[in-house]
């Protein structure tokens, strides 16, 4: 088990390095290959109407005058060993993990980004609980009552949930419940530690909107999995043994049907932690997703690198946890 985790952790580090190298290349190497000069690159970060001297200073300060491989090396070195910058009256040390300073604001990237993780985590956790519980429950019931009105109705709603984009359902829910009937008026994120009640109240609409999309998908997946599992021979055997139907469904049917659900949940949850871009944008939540949008809009490379690495990290970790969970859920799986 320990060897397995170490092996996976090593693979994760390699993967993160590849992700960072590709992202760095897209933002630094590709423009150069397309003929962009260092002056043109730097002029994006030096305000309006810059003097040639100011552009030259920025080129030097941001390290654009160095070869790309050296810039990448300094970036990676900063993550594991920190870096020192001359961005003010005195040199400042950027502590590990140092993702550098924003090209736009000249402020350190990592503390800014980590401040946003609780927002995204709050959104993802609450939504995940709702969609897992509702999605799996509806899927199981639909499978058990196949062809019933409940099945048809719930699958119809699920189809709508999968089909409708968040920028539609989000804006609609906000218009209805924030402005037409102001049950959740003046939405804004409140820290859990400041006021747990307000934290929850302000997140109900984003949770439900996000969960609507996912629970629809999970309901359909669970239903399909349950239908397939419940027709297996071992289910018939379990029933023939005289096991109560509740045990047949929960211990034998659901447990098997949950395996693919766990896989996809790991992926989905990991992706969300890397930023629920649409939901955060629609509800103006200051999370990782909103940060990513801002970073890309500003072409702010250190921010893009940090958020990409963080998102990749969450996905890798989520996948690792899923693989570990397999061993618990599915008795056929053994980690070695």
């Amino acid at each position: 088990m320990v060897a397995y985790i170490i092996r996976r952790a090593f693979a994760a580090v390699v993967l993160l390095l590849i992700v960072s190298a590709v992202t760095f290349g897209i933002f630094f190497l590709v423009p150069r290959l397309a003929g962009e000069t260092t002056q043109q690159l730097a002029s994006q970060y030096v305000g309006r109407d810059p003097s040639p001297q100011a552009v030259q200073s920025i080129i030097h300060n941001l390290g654009f005058d160095k070869p790309v491989y050296q810039q990448y090396w300094e970036f990676i070195h900063g993550i594991v060993a920190g870096r020192t910058f001359n961005d003010g009256p005195t040199p400042t040390h950027c502590a590990v993990p140092c993702f550098g300073y924003s090209f736009k604001s000249h402020l350190p990237v990592w503390p800014d980004l980590t401040q946003r993780i609780p927002v995204t985590l709050s959104l993802a956790l609450g939504a995940a609980v709702i969609w897992l519980v509702s999605g799996v429950a509806i899927g199981v019931l639909s499978a058990l009552k196949r062809g019933s009105i409940f099945d048809r109705l719930s699958m119809g709603v699920a189809l709508a949930g999968v089909s409708l984009p968040i920028f539609f359902t989000g804006l609609l829910s906000m218009d209805l419940f924030s402005f037409q009937w102001p049950i959740f008026s003046n939405l804004h994120y409140v820290n859990f530690t400041d006021n747990p009640l307000m934290w929850a109240k302000n997140l109900v609409l984003p949770w439900v909107t996000l969960a609507f999309l996912y629970s629809a998908l999970y309901a359909r997946l669970t239903r399909a999995g349950m239908l397939e599992t419940m027709s297996e021979d071992y289910i018939r055997t379990a029933r023939a043994k005289g096991l109560p139907e509740r045990k047949v469904v929960t211990r034998h049917g659901l447990r098997s049907a949950l395996t693919p659900i766990i896989t996809i949940f790991g992926m989905d949850f990991g992706l969300l932690l890397g930023g629920a871009v649409l939901t955060e944008t629609v509800f103006s939540l200051p999370g990782v997703g909103q940060y990513a949008v801002q970073a890309i809009t500003d072409n702010d490379l250190p921010k893009v690198m940090a958020v990409t690495t963080l998102a990749a990290f969450f996905i890798v970790v989520a996948n690792l946890l899923v693989d570990l969970l397999y061993a618990v859920v599915d008795p056929r799986v053994r980690l070695s």
Binding site: S43, Y45, A54, N86, P89, H106, F179, S284, P286
Partner: protein, 586 residues
């Protein structure tokens, strides 16, 4: 023009009356005054001396910086005055009175000497920063040095001081690199006097010192880019918290006194700022009276405007605000055949400006323009050198005939072909270019629309003359607003031949007329206000005779003020609500 002036006088008188009545009332009564369509353009709406509550601002993006020495956004120049006092500032009043400068940190406007090359200011005594330390002119000098000479760290703001002040014998490197001395051309003989020595006579210098870069910064507290996290206030509010990209909270500054500040009020107990909010959500929050102000001051989203304007009750909360910007087409003086003035004049006559206005959404988004200087800029003079019936250009017989006549004089009686540049991510600009294309086609001028991303429009495309010539860009869409609302502030960068640059060029027409260059230079050196302001109108007319700019629209933005916002009025100097005196009844 007379009608405009008369209206402005009435507006100023009304505003003054409302302001006085507001100031004389006591206690914490709620807002008074009428809320009607466009009321805040000419008067103070909800005039009130109500104190307390929270004024909440939302913004659809993020500020370039809240550091007063590192920002170039108009709304930040407006808002930053709540915590950063420049030497002088714009009069907090609606109408043309808002274009006047008033002493702020200083005791009076600048005293010019040496023919306008030296400017002296005295600041009020007894002023304190929010940390209790005294404010001196050395803090003002330091603020200018860090904002103008350390552009590699504080890169967002303008560098006019570096452009106009005399440099040291060896170029000054800014306070972060040159720790032993400062800029010799700013002298502080004592704690309340500051003297500026300029390279040339510059009559608009009071406008330069109105920008937030002259707000004092204590050197001991400056930590470069990080200063934005711990700004030391000189205004009525100080920072309680700041989170980059998220927002900020400001509370009353106990070391600010009303007696020391003739232009500000400290009505709200607290001010909150939330960034990166959806524009439609901001609009809905304004209409639901959940927030006090849209900080960006660029108007409502298109669908929100339609909703609000269609609702008679909501319409009374709307102001259609002159933004101070001009939408225009620059005609290249270097790209054939538009290098011939008659070809340019043919374009002037042929463009159907009514269709251009319709393409942008109608008259709420802009009035049809005939001059380069918008009406909200000091020195504006009304004239129209290329009149056509109903501004319809080739859709009117007089416009069609005049355009064809100019085409004959230009040697292209059957028309010509050229390209027009527009920014691909600005739908309004594309719509205007399309309307122009359609109207020019009627006189035989065939225009191809070439789209470029706005991020590199000036650096690499329309603002790079070599690119303009090689890509045959005879026409270029452009929008322009002044950094300060005078003729020089508006015209110099877009008409002066000396301002032409290989990249980042704003003089898109590449007009380099020695007569106009001289007129600009002479006017800015003239310290007689009346003569100088008259000169701007003359320069505007001279440039229009050259026909290098086709003024399309004086841009307007649709803004919403909720019931809870008090003392709301539009200051034309910023082209948005003036934030200095805004309070909240919530």
């Amino acid at each position: 023009m007379r009608r405009t002036k008369a209206a402005a006088l009435v507006a100023v008188a009304t505003a003054a009356g409302l302001t006085l009545s507001a100031c004389s009332s006591s206690g914490g009564s709620g807002g008074s005054g009428s809320s009607t369509y466009n009321a805040a353009n000419t008067s103070v709406v909800n005039a009130s001396s109500h104190t307390g509550g929270t004024a909440s601002y939302q913004l659809s993006s993020t500020p370039d910086s809240m550091d007063p020495g590192n920002t170039y956004y108009a709304f930040m120049w407006d808002f930053s005055r709540l915590y950063a006092r420049p030497l002088v500032t714009f009069n907090p009043a609606p109408g043309n009175a808002g274009l006047q400068l008033k002493p702020d940190l200083a005791t009076g406007l600048g005293t010019p000497s040496d023919g306008g090359k030296t400017w002296t200011y005295h600041i009020r005594s007894g002023l304190k920063f929010s940390d209790g330390t005294p404010i001196t002119t050395k803090d003002v000098k330091y603020a200018i040095e860090r904002s103008n000479y350390a552009h590699d760290v504080l890169s967002n703001g303008p560098t006019y001081f570096a452009q106009y002040l005399v440099d040291n014998s060896s170029p000054y490197q800014g306070p972060y690199k040159d720790k032993n001395g400062g800029l010799n051309s700013i002298q502080t003989p004592n704690d309340t006097t500051i003297v500026f020595h300029l390279k040339q006579s510059f009559a608009d210098f009071d406008y330069l010192v109105s920008n937030p870069e002259t707000a004092p910064v204590p050197q001991a507290k400056d930590n470069g880019a990080d200063y934005v996290k711990n700004i030391v206030s000189s205004g009525p509010y100080e920072f309680q918290s700041y989170q980059d990209g998220k927002g900020a909270t400001l509370v009353k500054n106990p070391n600010w006194s009303q007696a020391s500040d003739p232009v500000r009020k400290q009505y709200a107990d607290k001010i909150t700022l939330a960034f990166n909010q959806q524009q439609t959500t901001i609009d809905q929050n304004l209409m639901a009276d959940n927030v006090t102000m849209d900080l960006g001051g660029a108007g409502m989203a298109a669908d929100s405007q339609a909703t609000a304007l269609a609702n008679p009750q909501k319409k009374t909360h709307i102001d259609d605000v002159q933004s101070g910007a001009l939408a225009y087409v620059a005609l290249s003086s270097q790209v054939a055949p538009l290098n011939n003035v008659h070809c340019r004049q043919a374009v002037q006559y042929a463009i159907d400006k009514t269709s251009v206005q319709t393409a942008t959404g109608g008259d709420v988004h802009g009035d049809i323009a005939s001059t380069i200087l918008p009406p909200t800029v000091t020195g504006h003079t009304d004239f129209n050198l290329y009149p056509t019936s109903g501004n319809k250009g080739d859709d009117s017989s007089d416009g069609l005939a005049a355009a064809k006549q100019q085409l004959k004089l230009c040697g292209k009686p059957s028309g010509f072909s050229t390209n027009i540049a527009a920014r691909s991510d600005r739908p309004n600009e594309i719509a205007m270019a399309t309307a122009i294309q359609a109207s020019l086609k009627k006189v035989g001028i065939n225009v191809q629309i070439q789209q470029y991303p706005s991020g590199k429009y000036f650096a690499d495309d329309a603002g790079a003359p070599a690119f303009v010539h090689s890509h045959n860009l005879g026409m270029m869409m452009m929008a322009w607003a002044a950094d300060w609302p005078t003729g020089y502030g508006f015209l110099e960068q877009i008409l002066d031949g000396n301002a032409i640059k290989a990249s980042g060029n704003s003089n898109l027409s590449e007009l380099n007329d020695p007569a106009i260059n001289k007129m600009l230079n002479d006017a800015i050196g003239n310290t007689n206000d009346a003569q100088r302001n008259q000169a701007w109108g003359a320069i505007d007319k001279a440039a229009m005779q050259q026909a290098v700019i086709v003024p399309l629209l004086y841009r307007k933005d649709v803004m919403y003020r909720p019931d809870s916002a008090t003392n709301v009025f539009v200051n034309p100097a910023y082209g948005m609500y003036d934030y200095l005196t805004v309070g909240s009844t919530k």
